[in-house]
Symmetry: C2
Subunit: 476 residues, 2 copies
């Protein structure tokens, strides 16, 4: 059921008229249009405006509500930026098919949506979280912290944990890092937000990003002052010869997100050359490199050019996102600047969490967890691919050699957003590929995380997905 815009007016009008039913006298600290924006966002969140519903034109709504047209445009633009609305060129403004809240809800089980099969990409198997080892490490870590280490932590992280991380990353990833170059963060989004703010302060305005890419990452960069400029990805990774006129690039070189390709050796050299020539920096998001199945390890870009690359890692893909710990390795002066910024932003990550993670690193518990989960994820990947080969023969899953997700490319005539919505209604959660794509045309596909489901359940999920796809009417 889609509401038409007369319903929208009906819902919004009390606000304009100041009648009961409009927002109760909320604080009026807002910028112009903020009240309208809050009201619209609230209606989308509450389900009073349905996904896909078309909004009235800015002119019509402004006229009806007695607002300036610019006020309405500003509110629409803000909600488009936040992902609640979608602008379709020539067709108008619509409620987004998958709103940020719906996406969050999949990561936020407190929202209580029923989910039979959660194939949301980017999550490890949460059932495999090493609860016992974590609890033991937490107790040991707290007992080794001196009283005065319970004060404010050094903003770059505990020295001992930064040293453990530098050694670990050198050993398993050939990252070239001294302790001074490591900064502990709240995870990759925090690393990116802090870097973006700092680089913006250094005069940067634009950053080249892969297309497709993680939309949450792009929104984070935008909020913190850098405009992402999409650069297409082919089977050799980001097309370095199409990098725009800027001095920053963000890449997922080892395992492109979401397509899963690896940046080719030639492109690796040329993106480093690009950075050197322009006096620039490459940010390398090494988000899931711990999991590799059918190919040798790829040296990170950072190892090729430690002076030109900022390396990002996280515990969210190996342990659990709930921990909120990540790290970055940056050239010394930038690492210092980031630490200083953290001192004036959040005073760094919890010493208790850091020491617990450091204890897992030090005692080999982290390595053991990776050794234990790697074959589990590999078996799950194999089961998922076998089920796809059986249920959807002819489909070519992409990005299968590493990581925890696979892309199922759909025939061009199918609409991945519709399929994802229909699947969600059946309790099957995954991401449409088109939501990751900036430049048209948007190839349809399904981004499926397989790490969290057992083999039996993966087979059942693929059977349901196949049934749903077979029933699709092609796009007109």
């Amino acid at each position: 059921m889609r509401r038409n815009w007369s319903t929208l007016h009906e819902l919004l009008l009390p606000m304009a008229a100041g009648q009961p039913g409009g927002p109760p006298d909320q604080p009026r600290y807002q910028r112009p249009g903020r009240a309208l924006e809050d009201q619209l966002r609230g209606m989308v969140r509450a389900g009073r405006l349905h996904p896909g519903a078309r909004l009235p034109s800015t002119r019509d709504l402004a006229g009806q509500l007695g607002l300036a047209r610019g006020t309405v445009s500003t509110a629409y633009a803000q909600l488009i930026a936040e992902g609640f609305l979608d602008a379709r060129r020539g067709a108008g403004t619509f409620v987004a098919a998958v709103t940020p809240d719906a996406k969050d809800a999949r990561h936020a089980p407190e929202a209580g949506l029923p989910r039979r099969f959660d194939l949301t990409p980017g999550l490890p198997s949460l059932a495999e979280f090493p609860r016992t080892a974590w609890t033991r490490a937490a107790r040991a870590a707290l007992s080794t912290l001196a009283d005065d280490q319970l004060g404010y932590p050094p903003p770059a992280g505990l020295l001992s944990v930064r040293a453990e991380l530098a050694a670990y990353l050198g050993r398993v990833r050939a990252v070239s890092a001294t302790t001074d170059q490591v900064v502990v963060t709240h995870g990759t989004i925090d690393s990116l937000a802090t870097l973006a703010s700092e680089l913006r302060g250094d005069g940067h305005r634009r950053i080249a990003v892969e297309d497709p890419a993680n939309p949450h990452v792009l929104r984070t960069l935008t909020l913190h002052g850098l405009t992402p400029v999409p650069v297409p990805v082919d089977r050799h990774g980001i097309q370095v010869d199409q990098l725009p006129d800027c001095r920053l690039a963000l890449v997922t070189a080892a395992h492109q997100y979401p397509l899963g390709v690896a940046l080719s050796p030639a492109r690796r050299r040329s993106i480093i050359d690009w950075a050197r020539r322009r006096d620039g920096l490459v940010i390398e998001d090494d988000y899931d490199s711990e999991y590799r199945y059918d190919r040798p390890a790829l040296t990170p870009l950072q190892a090729l050019a430690p002076d030109r690359v900022v390396y990002l890692g996280t515990s969210s893909k190996t342990l659990a996102p709930a921990i909120r710990l990540g790290w970055l390795v940056a050239p010394g002066p930038l690492a210092d600047a980031i630490a200083e910024r953290k001192r004036l932003t959040d005073r760094g990550a919890s010493a208790l969490l850091q020491a617990t993670f450091g204890e897992l690193l030090r005692t080999g518990g982290y390595d053991r967890h990776l050794r234990r989960t790697r074959p589990i994820y590999r078996r799950r990947r194999d089961a998922f691919l076998a089920a796809v080969a059986k249920e959807l023969p002819g489909w070519k899953p992409a990005g299968i050699a590493a990581g925890m997700h696979v892309v199922l490319n759909l025939p061009q005539k199918l609409d991945d957003t519709t399929i994802a919505e229909q699947l969600a209604a059946q309790g099957i959660h995954l991401d449409p590929l088109s939501h990751h794509v900036q430049k048209l045309p948007r190839p349809p596909g399904l981004v499926c995380g397989y790490a969290g489901l057992t083999e039996d359940r993966l087979r059942a999920a693929v059977a349901d997905i196949a049934r749903c796809v077979r029933n699709q009417a092609p796009l007109h």
Copy 2:
């Protein structure tokens, strides 16, 4: 020993000439002047430029180094903003008496400075941290989290913890909060940084702050887009009739930091009126209200005007700063905006930490800890005040009725920075009052935190402080 500026040139010149001894070919992503800035900051940090040393004029240094004068001015300005340098009107630019690093070192024991008596204000007794109760709560919390709660936490915090906090704050502080209005943060600096960024986005540029105030807080506000405008504090608190032409104010109403006075009932009413009249907001930092000794509880401003006040609290003053958990209570639409900003900034606070803290709240462990430490801090305060009365008769310690610190006002002719430095050289750490003051004249004083030392040690520390003060030559 103070180095003169010929030494500074000697140290800096290799950089300008590109000779060995200058920075090794560091990445050149910096803005103009950044290399000079890094070099100077490094020299202050390494102790190669001593506190109090006078820097050459921008004209002289630019001439010697072959740089544009504006480049040198920019570097000086940046380092003044960061607290490494001090500008004294008409006298030139000096290395700051207490640099940010020195301040941090006191909170960052990894730096390894010897400290006999740590009277740094703003810290609870770290020896009283309830290690056993925390470990037990952490284990219980992890066992109650469902697997899918180990995914990304809701950016505003776990629903259960926000509900516990709303109930707790309502019960002990009469804060008027629904669960929706509570956002869990990484502590007060994170709360302030996030609020500042959000309010800046709403068009705010300036915020009224108390003078004196916590300088770290002022630097955080500045970095995140709000210019602090100092407003003098008298014995009734901030002088509301001197609030500037802006729509934001930050106050420590229950226990002014650092002076310790309480905002009078008349001023409370008038600051709320001010906010209503201007369509503004008051941010209330209720940093240590858990500790009160000789006076009844003061209702927070938030309870008087929940639609006009953002309330901030933290676990740093009750449990330990190492935990990194705080909270804010804001009018609904602002709380939503803050949560959305956190989603795109750091994805919220660790679910493991939140659940552990929630478990302490739920089981009464937090209350028990407060009940246990309150009389300890009270006895320590009494011992500290008795020692001051004996060793420094005639001094009038201020702000003694609550909290964990006291201000010792010095005779006008003494220089509190010099005294603090001399004490630090003897391993006694406290903050000079003048570092908290924006507008001249800066009354000298010593801000002493007494929570962390036993009564015997407090008496010994006061004896040493008295000896040091008695030996002071008055300022010329």
